[in-house]
């Protein structure tokens, strides 16, 4: 919607809607989200819990489970629609073309199988290799993600690895079939601070070297500022602001994005209280009319309570806020 289509986009999400059908009501978790991610690009996705970040990732990879369903919009991989594929077709793409890294490396590996068994099974699911070749490839992958002595560790069980090492194994598993696109869903949240930076720089490096499109979902603005090329700020299932990371982080325009960036502690401003956004994000069952952010917004005016704003281009980015619509028109 309103966003130009990049010619080299690996993933294009167009006006995506995801609904959860419950007994009482149909809840719209994602409401008209659009973005592109190009080859080798990292899109950071930020927002509070429940803003729809993870659901967007799950939708792209085709893992929305009932009662959830994609109820509108489309998802294109290299220009081909993948959101309406039959389950068997989608499974062939999953892991092969699109991959996902989960939040908690302690629980994403099957505890009863050797790391090598899990790698080899995944490799052989997607690539025509025999056991021996797959094992060699598994060792290569482990080397690439920075596991020391991989030819030995490949026969280890997940519990024999530390948290950071397990997340490296998870990344190796996601890379088994050289996917074009990878969703990293808060890949560092469960890790020690000292390990977080290593994992993030590993993801960034792999993305760049392999020309993968990366969707990096996180709460951590520091991680975004360091890693992402562009950033999408999500609120209540919608994109509030999306644009180059430098612009959005340093000069946010959407009032919510401003609040979010203001909440980042800096050393220079150590004595001041951190800025807080008053209130909390609405529940999916009670999203207000108009702009979803209107109850918490200090700059809201009459129109914000009636019309839902759509992302429109403003100063090199897209912002979904009525404050800026006139601005661009004046220009």
């Amino acid at each position: 919607m309103g966003q130009h289509i990049m010619s080299d986009a690996v993933i294009s999400v167009r006006n995506l809607q995801v609904e959860f059908v419950t007994r009482r009501a149909t809840l719209r978790a994602i409401d008209g989200v659009s973005f592109d991610i190009a080859k080798g690009e990292v899109l950071g996705v930020v927002g509070e819990s429940g803003a729809g970040k993870s659901v967007t990732g799950a939708a792209i990879i085709g893992l929305i489970e009932p009662p959830g369903r994609i109820s509108g919009g489309e998802i294109l991989l290299n220009g081909r629609r993948i959101d309406n594929l039959p389950p068997d077709e989608m499974r062939k793409i999953r892991g092969r073309k699109v991959a996902m890294i989960f939040q908690d490396p302690l629980t994403s590996l099957n505890p009863l199988f050797r790391v090598g068994e899990q790698l080899i099974e995944t490799i052989r699911t997607h690539l025509p290799m025999n056991e021996r070749q797959a094992r060699d490839r598994a060792i290569e992958l482990l080397t690439e993600v920075g596991i020391p002595a991989p030819e030995k560790r490949i026969d280890g069980y997940p519990h024999e690895f530390s948290g950071g090492m397990r997340q490296r194994v998870v990344i190796a598993l996601a890379l088994c079939a050289e996917p074009d696109f990878i969703v990293a869903d808060e890949p560092t949240t469960a890790l020690d601070v000292s390990v977080q930076a290593q994992i993030i720089s590993l993801i960034k490096k792999l993305g760049r070297e392999r020309g993968m499109a990366v969707m990096l979902v996180t709460h951590d603005m520091g991680v975004i500022a360091e890693t992402a090329d562009r950033v999408a700020v999500m609120y209540a299932g919608r994109v509030a602001e999306i644009g180059p990371v430098r612009d959005v982080v340093q000069r946010p325009m959407h009032p919510y994005a401003k609040g979010l960036m203001g909440a980042i502690p800096t050393l220079e401003a150590a004595t001041d209280r951190l800025v807080q956004i008053p209130g909390s994000m609405p529940r999916l069952s009670s999203i207000p009319r108009g702009c979803a952010f209107n109850p918490r917004c200090g700059e809201a005016f009459a129109r914000c309570f009636v019309d839902q704003p759509v992302p429109l281009p403003v100063q090199g980015r897209h912002v979904a806020c009525h404050l800026y619509e006139t601005m661009e028109a004046v220009r």
Partner: protein
């Protein structure tokens, strides 16, 4: 591995010692062994001589040690009522119980696993829901009622199956089996169903619950996200994890199938250990009861040992022992 095995074995030995102690106390102090053997008109001198020759005047630890020594060699004394060695009585009846219990266990485990997995994978399916509802009957109906119900239907009303006994059996040395004759097989059907039905429903419900639990885990989601086939996700990744708790419960249940076939054996007049035990209780045949107690203890200890070993095979986290996760 060795340390784990040794620890399990030590525990097993301690449990057996405790069971032996209780069996011995019962054997020695419930009622008067001398009075049970000699007639009413025996003189005091006769009694004292008998007590001396049986070693009943020896200090307690010595008596217990002698009891243990005999038990290890398979000597559990002589039945008060039948006047035959208890060990002989047990061995005579062991095949009937083992055959019944093993078949029940196979049926319960096989069907329980298959139905449990099916019910978990087709959680909203009509058949799965019917099976789940029916399983409530198995969990809540008492065993004897199922047995009597079956007898009424298949023996009294339809006259298809015999209502009691083992039918014709074929002997191989001391072992006897009913599997090789028509009447033997027919006689097995209802007891096997009766004994196994509760375990079947329990195992099925347990497998279903554990599978559903495992299917919600992150590693199953991640396996799906890697594009693994449904077959691999369900039967390789999910089932193996679901089996860890299932093994424990199932092990204990199978132990109790062998040990407590009493009700089923009574209902079908099955010539097994359970029926022998019930008769012994009726006539206060203490040596037989003590030996049966030891047997039950042994069954549970052996089953637990097997469960421990299976754990070890299934769950690699136990194999590391005290190793610190490598960094």
């Amino acid at each position: 591995m060795l340390a784990y095995l040794l620890r399990s074995l030590t525990q097993a030995t301690l449990v057996m010692l405790a069971v032996a102690f209780i069996a011995f106390s019962m054997f020695r102090y419930v009622g008067d062994p001398v009075a049970s053997i000699v007639g009413q008109d025996a003189t005091l001198k006769d009694r004292q001589e008998l007590a001396e020759s049986l070693g009943l005047n020896d200090p307690f630890p010595l008596q217990f040690a002698r009891f243990l020594g005999n038990a290890v060699q398979g000597d559990f004394g002589v039945s008060y009522r039948q006047g035959r060695p208890v060990a002989d009585l047990l061995i005579e009846r062991l095949p009937a119980t083992i055959e019944l219990a093993v078949l029940s266990a196979i049926v319960a485990l096989g069907l329980g696993l298959v139905l449990g997995i099916y019910a978990a994978l087709n959680r909203k399916g009509v058949i799965a829901n019917i099976v789940m509802s029916l399983s409530l009957i198995g969990v809540s109906l008492p065993t004897f009622l199922i047995g009597i119900g079956l007898i009424f239907l298949f023996s009294v009303y339809l006259r298809w199956l015999p209502s009691f006994g083992r039918g014709d059996v074929v002997a191989f040395g001391w072992w006897t089996t009913g599997l090789l004759t028509d009447s033997g097989r027919k006689s097995l059907i209802m007891p096997v169903i009766t004994l196994g039905f509760f375990q079947l429903t329990l195992i099925m419900r347990l497998v279903r619950a554990e599978m559903l639990e495992v299917m919600r885990t992150e590693y199953i989601k991640f396996a799906r996200a890697r594009g693994l086939s449904d077959g691999s996700v369900h039967f390789r990744h999910a089932l193996r994890n679901a089996m860890v708790p299932v093994i424990t419960i199932t092990g204990l249940q199978l132990g109790s199938i062998i040990a407590f076939a009493i009700v089923t054996e009574t209902v079908f007049n099955w010539p097994g250990l359970g029926a022998l035990f019930v008769r012994s209780v009726e006539v206060v045949d203490i040596p037989v009861m003590a030996a049966y107690l030891m047997f039950v203890g042994l069954v549970f200890v052996v089953v637990n040992l097997i469960v421990d070993m299976l754990y070890f095979l299934v769950d690699p986290r136990l194999r590391g022992g005290a190793t610190v996760p490598a960094r």
